[in-house]
């Protein structure tokens, strides 16, 4: 795990500025605090900030092939490197290190770009093939590791984080208004768009080749929900899933440093920790977040699992003020506006892991997407059920079974819920059915956009960009698979693995690993019959079946509680935050120009009175404040030390419980 950066001359020879290359690496130091490595020739400069996990002595980068004509910088891990190494040695390759990085170089020599198909891992890398004068950039299948790029002054500049790109003085820093429109609809930008104008991300499952001035971006992997033609019994599927998960967890525990695990109290992290305990020799060390606000707290379930597993455990307790206090630093790392504070507790958690002497954690992310865990999937199923007989008096009653964990459930007023879920079917492509209530509810918060921003955005639709992301013909899928595909292609990589994943973990040099996102597990789950992913309204049914003899019944059968954190209360519950007061002031809002100051002041008043109850107000206040923070940190004053210190609430951010 690390940070990478580079500058490539595209069509004219100009000196690659070593100082810029160095500064691009330095600002990524949180990703790689153990040391730097550089490569520079007439055409390209590469930088690497290292977090040592495998081959601690020998794994410094860049790493070269036998005759030093090809070099690589990698952010991430190749989990099947031991098997690949043996295979490549058999083929006659000579290794100079024991690192996982080096296998990519020799695989590339062997297979060229198709080396990607042999990798099991989470990665973003750059290979410079000097003889061919070819730069080859690639990103893992689901976008666990980030990679951004831009074109400026005849060069291609790329890096693990946008702030590293901004170390090049010639790059304009500007928020992209269309990105704001997308974030305030989908909770994310649609790749390759990012929050900043002319800054792009390489989409998950894609690679880029730049050769002789030509730049080509291609997709090499996409989840495909093709039903299994060789149908098996439920028990056989459950057994096969367990076997794959055990194998994936074992592979992902490969490291030359100790590996811990997150434990939320939900089924997914309970599965991962149980697999570590039962099927590996790794000592079980677990970490979790608890909340003072009981509406979000899952510590009762965490305690059950800790006792059940006999884990060596630490937790960090989050209060409203601990979230509000660290929020500016969180946004420094997310590099995008967000609509929920949920990344903040995970930022605090990664600090706890780091302070406990760990660099790597396994987590349960990805299970909800590939095994149908989210409410949005059940919600879509229920809507289809009601839609079949729209006049039925009884069918809508099933809505009552959604959201049992919410105090202000949107289904309490049943007739309103029916109307809410009955989004007009003519305005959008049919395959977006499942996600339209979410997107249309979120879009309501654009009421806060300034008139100027609204003018820019008028007559603009995102469905064209979205349809370029939806590269498979999902019209042929069953409804559940359509919904899962969209969730994987949008929120998984665009928010969950980035703002709530890589960015807040790497903020404290922590590498997250995700056994559910081993591509063999994903491909297996994509083939499962939909009825065993959600059985009636039981989510992740087949996972529960496969774990029924391994997990306590109280964990298996508990009501799913999605991970959330207090939103508006984190900023306004008796917690005076100078930065929030300043950034939400009429003068700051007017100066930035994105929002209508009068409307925001009414929302702030509502939040201060603790009357911001619904999703809309909470998403709006977090979205507005985080946008203003992005503006402050990256546009107005782009200097980490100055910006963060100015906004920092106190330096002793949190206590370990």
């Amino acid at each position: 795990m690390c940070g990478i950066a580079g500058i490539l001359n595209l069509n004219k020879q100009q000196e690659i500025p070593l100082n810029t290359i160095k500064s691009m690496a330095e600002i990524l130091q949180h990703r790689g605090p153990d040391g730097f490595g550089f490569y520079i020739d007439d055409t390209i400069g590469l930088a690497h900030a290292r977090l040592s996990i495998i081959d601690l002595e020998g794994g410094w980068q860049p790493i070269y092939n036998e005759n030093k004509t090809i070099c690589i910088i990698l952010n991430g891990e190749i989990f099947n490197f031991i098997e690949l190494r043996e295979f490549l040695i058999d083929k006659g390759h000579t290794f100079s290190t024991k690192s996982d990085t080096e296998v990519i170089i020799h695989l590339y020599e062997e297979y060229g770009i198709e080396c990607l198909n042999h990798l099991n891992g989470q990665f973003a890398f750059a290979i410079w093939d000097k003889e061919k004068e070819r730069l080859f950039l690639a990103r893992d299948r689901v976008g666990i590791r980030p990679l951004f790029y831009t074109l400026a002054n005849g060069t291609l500049i790329f890096a693990s984080e946008i702030k590293s790109l901004f170390m090049n003085e010639r790059i304009n820093r500007e928020i992209d208004p269309y990105a704001l429109d997308q974030i305030f609809t989908f909770w994310m930008t649609i790749p390759p768009r990012t929050a900043f104008r002319n800054i792009y991300e390489l989409p998950s499952g894609h690679y880029m080749v730049v050769e002789k001035g030509n730049m080509n971006i291609r997709q090499y992997w996409d989840p495909d929900f093709i039903p299994d033609t060789n149908l098996r019994t439920e028990a056989e599927y459950a057994e096969a899933l367990l076997e794959l998960l055990v194998n994936s967890a074992r592979l992902q525990l490969r490291a030359d440093v100790p590996v811990g695990a997150y434990l939320s109290g939900g089924i997914d992290s309970s599965v991962i920790t149980t697999l570590i305990k039962r099927y590996t020799d790794t000592p079980l060390r677990t970490f979790s977040v608890t909340f003072s606000d009981k509406a979000y707290d899952e510590s009762a379930y965490q305690r059950q699992m800790i006792e059940f597993l006999g884990a060596d455990h630490s937790n960090i307790n989050c209060t409203y003020s601990s979230i509000g206090n660290v929020f500016p630093e969180v946004i420094w790392h997310t590099e995008t506006p967000i609509l929920r504070t949920a990344p903040a507790p995970l930022f605090l958690l990664s600090k706890l892991v780091r302070d406990s002497g760990y660099k790597v954690v396994l987590t349960g992310e990805g299970s909800d997407e590939i095994l149908s865990g989210y409410d949005i999937f059940k919600e879509a199923k229920v809507r289809r059920f009601i839609e079949k007989y729209p006049d039925s008096k009884f069918r809508p009653l099933i809505l009552k079974r959604l959201y049992p964990y919410l105090a202000n459930s949107p289904v309490r007023a049943l007739k309103y819920a029916e109307a809410f879920f009955n989004v007009d079917g003519n305005d959008y492509p049919a395959e977006y059915f499942s996600h339209m209530p979410r997107w249309s509810t979120t879009s309501k918060i654009k009421v806060f956009f300034s008139d100027h921003l609204k003018d820019i955005l008028s007559n603009h639709t995102h469905f064209d960009e979205l349809s370029r992301l939806v590269t498979n013909d999902i019209g042929k899928y069953d409804y559940l698979s359509q919904a899962q595909y969209i969730e994987i292609k949008t929120l998984l990589s665009g928010y969950l693995l980035s703002s709530q994943g890589d960015r807040v973990a790497m903020a404290h040099s922590i590498e997250g690993r995700f056994p559910f996102l081993d591509h063999r597990v994903i491909e297996f789950c994509c083939k499962l019959p939909p009825s065993i992913r959600i059985n009636v309204l039981t989510e992740k049914y087949i996972l529960k079946e496969s774990m029924k003899n391994l997990l306590p019944a109280s964990i298996l059968n508990r009501t799913k509680q999605p991970y959330m954190a207090p939103d508006s209360k984190s900023f306004f519950n008796g917690n005076k935050l100078d930065y929030a007061d300043e950034l939400l002031s009429t003068s700051c809002l007017k100066d930035a120009g994105y929002f209508d100051p009068k409307a925001v002041s009414m929302l702030v008043k509502k939040c201060r009175q603790n009357k911001a109850l619904g999703f809309k107000d909470n998403m709006a206040i977090v979205g507005i404040l985080s946008t203003m923070l992005v503006h402050e940190l990256f546009i107005k004053h782009f200097d980490k030390n100055i910006s963060i210190n100015r906004l920092r609430v106190n330096k002793e951010l949190h206590a370990i419980c």
Partner: protein, 87 residues
């Protein structure tokens, strides 16, 4: 003293403009405008409106009464609340 429907309507309008339109009433909030149709009040917003009405007019509203027929426009709400307060 009984509140008239006109007064009711004006007070409720103000609450909706402040809380759901955040002061941005661009003259779209006619008496007959459907809140759901215009996306002004969603299914959690309705609970905010209900708690305002219950507190302000000292009435209690059952879940069964939470239907668009009673709440989906200024006219409908003021008629419904007027009936409840005068019963």
């Amino acid at each position: 003293m009984l509140t008239t429907t006109m007064q009711l309507k004006s007070e409720i309008r103000q609450f909706i403009v402040d809380n759901f339109l955040y002061g941005r009433d661009d003259d779209t909030l006619g008496d007959e405008v459907s809140f759901l149709g215009k996306g002004i009040i969603d299914s959690t917003g309705i609970l905010e409106l209900v708690s305002f009405i219950e507190e302000k007019y000292i009435i209690s509203i059952d879940d069964e009464e939470l239907i668009p027929d009673n709440f989906d426009s200024l006219n409908k709400i003021s008629t419904f609340v007027f009936k409840k307060t005068t019963l």
